[in-house]
Symmetry: C2
Subunit: 384 residues, 2 copies
């Protein structure tokens, strides 16, 4: 395997009822800002549980963080943090709210134009500490130090990260996910599944334990997905999906192995330009990344075929085809659409997407940095 | 699965050449105490690499920490830490040196009798921060906050732990393990293997991801063991064994699942009374724990049989017998002895061992707390 450095200090409180632990973990006398999305937490009981645990604290609120959290919205929260001298932020939501909160945390005391944190990887020093209560298992943001932020005005969707923006803690109560819609549940499962594949389906470097861990997450997601999709209240299955999504992107399975984030990078542009859900963009693109890159990913695709889907018969190309088909079938079983045309996107979109990639300097993607614009175009065209 | 809290802030530097990273991670102007064992690090080049990285630091040394590190020895190091006002300890070694260093760290500024930390779980506040350079993959001590300390005068071998004694960092360079003897290598593999089984072979709680992770470590250990045992320099295989041993006991696979540390607890008494290597005691006892507890562990034993050894034929008892036999064969393939009699220990040892268990209040062991002295006696007798 390759050399690596691993560090993840996020403290996880996992299980039903763990929101009550908030009372013990938040710094006393903190001025707390709650951040959340469109207010579903006020309908499903999560907000009430949080407020009960925070009795006696000085709590302000900032709702309205949208999916694919926008710089425009987040800068309003930055203003509140500065005005009210907030000293702890509690994010309640999924990846969008947590990612957005990471940006608020980094931007609040940043000297200069916070947009530079995203476009120029500008260094930030003092951050506002934050924790989170996860409501949607998907992004893994609750246990990592990266974030993806969009800017509506310029159709940008950009990544930033730093050990300074690890959550201080994350509360993972699977019972709060009972009220997720099938679409949210499916998007989350696909997101986690693709996160794993992006750290697994590259080329072999003799890292068998990382492979087994990755395969363990994939197998568990496939087994548990039917138990939660369209069904709310299987606590064990919800818990298993939640823990899978966290482990899929807390850096562990990616240690010492090559990675290929092409699907996410290409998907971000589809979301930024055409508004697909993040998970929807991944379900369309991932199988075509595997198809277009089947030569480069040959050995790991065969391993994926055998260990995840039990495909051992037929010549190697047949097995790889079967594995890609099985992947599509898994996504389809969650009602995910598999083509851009299903979202009324046709080939006129291609130049728009390629221009975006170029503008964001995403021209050397893949585990070997050899996915140029031509190769990206092939993937987008195969996805039409 | 069960509710859990997970926290592990140890920063891991993994790979060949990582000892050089020491220069960047140790606090400047620290007064550093190196702790190590019997000096093999001065023959295999590790000491030289460390001293090169520490050029310019104020470095003292304390060697001679023995396998099953003793209170008597460690208290000498505590004296040095106090006298020299040491403010950082760097442990260079395997589990014994790192465990011992954890005790030195906790005891140095403890007000009162440090032995109480072990016997009365006395709380300690200020600790001396420490990091480690791992030389023997086995105990997992490099990425956890527990330790096992012995007292020669009273034949005690006792456990303590606290988040305060997490290493600040751990350097894992698999190349430094090339010089391990076959016996050391085998002991380490068995220790890691048994750590996994003690968190896996209990009863099902619907925690499929934890199961898959545990199985991933077991399968990797079985696959990689023949590549390193009696052969020194397969860097990839040494790296895989090293990462397995760390992941086997950094708390991750044990989150949300029942655990059964009977083999370790019973083994500690065998080591304390009769001087077997820690790994040797485990190789003898573990198969007999599985045999005596086969009813209580029935379902997980069947899963272990199928997923680790591919045993699917025969009735359930036959499959469980086969899995226990395969476990013994794996240990035997590393030249581990399988009976206490192989170490000239006969039944006259039984009352001695049981008295030790009683004295250490180890009378309610196992995942359900129902392994009393009678049950422990059965395990010891089956191991004769």
């Amino acid at each position: 395997m390759q050399n690596f450095i691993f560090y993840n200090p996020v403290k996880i409180y996992f299980g039903k009822g763990q929101i009550a632990a908030l009372a013990g973990v938040l710094p006393k006398n903190s001025r707390i800002l709650l951040t959340y999305g469109y207010g579903s937490i006020k309908k499903n009981g999560v907000y009430d549980q949080v407020m009960q645990a925070l009795a006696g604290y000085d709590v302000s609120e900032f709702g309205g963080i949208e999916p694919n959290p926008s710089y425009e919205t987040l800068m309003q929260a930055v203003g509140i943090v500065r005005d009210k001298k907030i000293d702890f932020i509690l994010a309640i939501g999924g990846g969008s709210v947590i990612d957005g909160t990471k940006f608020i945390s980094a931007a609040a005391h940043f000297k200069g134009e916070p947009w530079d944190i995203l476009t120029k990887q500008a260094e930030f020093n003092e951050v506002v500490p934050f924790g989170c209560v996860l409501t949607l298992p998907a992004a893994g943001s609750e246990m990592n130090c990266g974030a993806v932020i969009s800017r509506k005005s310029s159709r940008d969707k950009l990544v930033f990260g730093s050990p300074k923006i690890f959550p201080r803690f994350a509360i993972l109560d699977p019972a709060v996910t009972f009220s997720l819609s099938p679409r949210q549940t499916a998007n989350g499962i696909v997101d986690a599944f693709v996160h794993v594949l992006e750290q697994y389906l590259t080329y072999p470097v003799n890292a068998p334990l990382q492979d087994r861990f990755a395969e363990g997450i994939l197998l568990t997601l496939i087994e548990e997905a039917p138990k939660v999709w369209r069904k709310g209240d299987d606590l064990d299955a919800r818990a298993n999906i939640m823990w899978c999504a966290t482990m899929a992107l807390n850096d562990l399975i990616g240690m010492g192995v090559p990675q290929d984030w092409t699907t996410h990078r290409l998907g971000h542009e589809v979301t930024a330009c055409f508004g697909l859900d993040h998970g929807q963009s991944l379900a369309v693109l991932l199988p075509n990344v595997l198809q277009v890159r089947r030569v480069q990913k040959h050995e790991k695709l065969l391993q994926y075929a055998e260990r995840i889907f039990g495909i051992k018969q037929g010549d190697e190309d047949v097995r790889i085809d079967a594995a890609i088909t099985k992947t599509r079938e898994f996504f389809a079983s969650l009602d995910m659409k598999l083509h851009l045309r299903d979202y009324a996107i046709d080939e006129t979109a291609i130049p728009v997407l390629l221009e975006q990639l170029q503008r964001h300097s995403l021209t050397g993607l893949g585990e070997r940095g050899d996915i140029d614009l031509n190769e990206s175009e092939k993937i987008y065209r195969a996805s039409l």
